[in-house]
Symmetry: C2
Subunit: 306 residues, 2 copies
Amino acid sequence: MNNFSIALHGGAGTILRAAMSSEKEREYTSALKAALDAGFNVLKDGGTAIDAVLASTISLEDCPLFNAGKGSVFTHDGKHEMDASIMDGSTLAAGAVACLRNVRNPVLLAKEIMVHSDHVMLLGEGAEEFARIRKMKFEPDEYFYTDFRHKQLLDIVNEERTQLDHSDKKFGTVGAVACDRNGNLAAATSTGGMTNKRYNRIGDSPVIGSGTYANNRTCAISCTGHGEFFLRAVVAYDISCLMEYKGLTLEKACELVVNKKLVDLGGEGGLVAVDSQGTTSLVFNSEGMYRASKSSAGIETVLIYR
Amino acid sequence: MNNFSIALHGGAGTILRAAMSSEKEREYTSALKAALDAGFNVLKDGGTAIDAVLASTISLEDCPLFNAGKGSVFTHDGKHEMDASIMDGSTLAAGAVACLRNVRNPVLLAKEIMVHSDHVMLLGEGAEEFARIRKMKFEPDEYFYTDFRHKQLLDIVNEERTQLDHSDKKFGTVGAVACDRNGNLAAATSTGGMTNKRYNRIGDSPVIGSGTYANNRTCAISCTGHGEFFLRAVVAYDISCLMEYKGLTLEKACELVVNKKLVDLGGEGGLVAVDSQGTTSLVFNSEGMYRASKSSAGIETVLIYR
């Protein structure tokens, strides 16, 4: 039997200890721990990597602290547009959704697309139509509303700045990767995008190969960061290729891509990764990244700062 | 000074000599040749790879024979939704657009996004809003209408089948890759998607890394085929990685991905590619692919069948 493990993130960016109250820190730590346990318990009970990353990502989507699902940031016109994707490393099956409104758990819709359609990526109203056919849970705009995110929008809407989550440059995305008892890998990512975003912009979160990738031969990856750079660098698949074609370890591949290639390009952010031996890697080039990992070998981490 | 060259495609699939009239064959050949010359002349006059792939792709978008721009297929609700992307191998800058309506040349909007926005990928109405700000040319629905495509929709709309272009399984996408005198590479792809498609489905054409990729260190790639498989296989970037990390030639990398990896996954289609020495590769695993290439070394091909 394989080691099994899970790793997750709740976004990366300028997350400074000095700017965080101890109460806020406890809230984040406790939410990360809850999401970690949700996924790890699936693995412990013999569940699949796909079900584990779903459990962790749904827990983070349902928590208003993170920019995904409930708690998503506001677009320029005061709405919430969410993106998500998921990939199964055992089959290379994948599902993705972008510019989605009012679906409670975007990552669950990505899974429905992967399992119950001939397609990989659906957008906007078409994706919502598919969600209704699949009888997925919808929520009114009020469900996604949080005072904190609304204040962020009001603060910058007149300045015509587009913010990747917070005024202190935080890239709000959540995601998880897992390796189950059978050595199967999976990855999932979900985001509310950028505060005050316009033009139905999408970043790397719903893009297979950039924000999310999983392949039993190599690794599973979920990214968070300045999406445009992650798209141009095809980050998630790059790590897989460095392992498969160049023989790099997961750790060395993640370090090269996040702390060298992305830095050279000007791209800030990070990712969580796991290989088929259950080894996890949590790497970022920003000040901090909300992150956690837990393995059957007994390792457990819940961290925020560098 | 570098060899310079261009290669383009007008879609792949079940294109059989027996099913093609000699008049239709002449029309396709002549359109491919016109698009080829449009791009090659840019290179001959000392223009950039980006301008060359734009010239060829615009020529194919403007031609009603191909499923991109004018001549795009109809969606389930009788509209035209177009996707396109472009990438500059010298800077790794990229632009992409999906679910776009009424913009005359989607590939030009992808270029505007690449050059004049902080974003890589814009969708639907948001992309159209950006196109208006950039004063791009719009056309009414009638411009995109062709009897041939409308009949295709009527033929299958009641059968609830989704067709990738034609009743004879043709994957309608156009695209071009180029290497200019300075050894700079570029790639562009544009499509009208699938006849009778629903749910705002998008394939690989607007996805950087899957349908389109360019990097001066390796190659430029534009794909055409059953998009879902190209997305899951991250086809364009896979070829780049096989060259960069495993030392494969362009030809060997293209052969491995199209005729082995995609076939194993069940994915039908092909691609055009060029490396920084100006060597082109036009590879497909389907019955045929509308394709053409021309180089400063004097090679010129315009082909349809295997």
